[in-house]
């Protein structure tokens, strides 16, 4: 039912916000390097409820989380927003163009990749104008993105299978 879907989506959004906020508490050497746990929610939403729902969840997550944490409209918010929107769009495009090409893990990797690329590009244009610094950290960020993307993909898949069962 539409209504139940909406409830589900709201719940998922809440989980996403919680995960995002929790993740930001974790200390990292690089300010905006994340485990991307909230991407799990995005991916699950995308697979279960489609692009629009996933986008809504992403936007709600980014905006609410930053409001709660207090970084609304700040640099972290911009980067989260850019990364989240781009990764959602990328994942959904791949899904609609070649749905059988990648498994959940592959989709999660793509999501992570585009999320990182978008953040690097945004960081370059808005904050750090020195391309050497950006080029210097890109390999590391992409590597970590690949690793976390894989793990997130596994978790997403398990989650989906679980959710399907309970339905």
């Amino acid at each position: 039912m539409q209504l139940q879907d909406k409830y589900r989506i709201a719940l998922l959004s809440a989980y996403a916000v919680a995960l995002h906020a929790f993740e930001s508490l974790l200390p990292t050497p690089i300010p905006w390097l994340r485990l991307g746990l909230a991407n799990i929610i995005t991916l699950v939403t995308l697979l279960l409820y489609g692009f629009r729902a996933a986008m809504v969840v992403t936007l709600i997550r980014v905006i609410l989380a930053s409001l709660f944490i207090g970084t609304f409209l700040g640099p972290a918010f911009i980067l989260s927003l850019g990364g989240g929107v781009t990764s959602t769009v990328a994942m959904s495009l791949i899904l609609s163009v070649a749905p059988r090409l990648f498994s959940t893990i592959g989709l999660s990797l793509i999501g992570a990749l585009f999320h990182n690329i978008a953040q690097l590009v945004l960081a370059y244009f808005l904050f750090i104008q020195r391309i050497e610094a950006i080029l210097l950290i890109s390999p590391f960020i992409i590597l970590i993105g690949a690793l976390t993307g894989t793990v997130n993909g596994v978790i997403s898949d398990l989650l989906i299978k679980n959710l399907k069962k309970t339905n």
Binding site: F102, S103, I105, G106, L109, A146, L158
Partner: protein
């Protein structure tokens, strides 16, 4: 087990993607380790305007045009020299090969500097 089902559902595309990403990032890291410490570059200015910035690692022959004519610079084996210049005293050519520092051709308004990024980070200017 869910895990087993998941592992069997991994596609070839997934693997290719993952391997590509790992390959890309590792080679990126190695590349950066190579490039960073040396960072010597050749800067060629004509009439106060920066015309070329070249790495000293690449052998090449560069020609720049100044008010008096063409000055030809040869970069080879991490050194450079001026091989042709329209100036009267040919001082720039007489300086021969340099590994660091600069060659100036005043009449043709050409300035060639070898920047060692290490030093330009330490001092803002040099007197003497």
């Amino acid at each position: 087990m869910n895990l087993k089902r998941l592992l069997s559902s991994i596609t070839i595309a997934d693997k290719i993607l993952l391997y590509l990403l790992i390959l890309l990032s590792f080679s990126g890291i190695l590349f950066i380790k190579e490039v960073l410490p040396k960072g010597c570059e050749v800067q060629i200015e004509v009439n106060g305007r920066l015309v070329y910035v070249l790495p000293i690692e690449d052998n090449r022959i560069v020609s720049v045009k100044g008010p008096e004519g063409r000055t030809v610079i040869e970069i080879k084996d991490h050194r450079l020299r001026v091989t042709e210049s329209p100036c009267h005293n040919k001082l720039c050519i007489k300086q021969g090969w340099i590994e660091s520092g600069a060659i100036v051709c005043l009449p043709n308004r050409v300035l060639i500097t070898i920047g060692n990024r290490e030093y330009s980070n330490i001092v803002d200017a040099i007197t003497g």
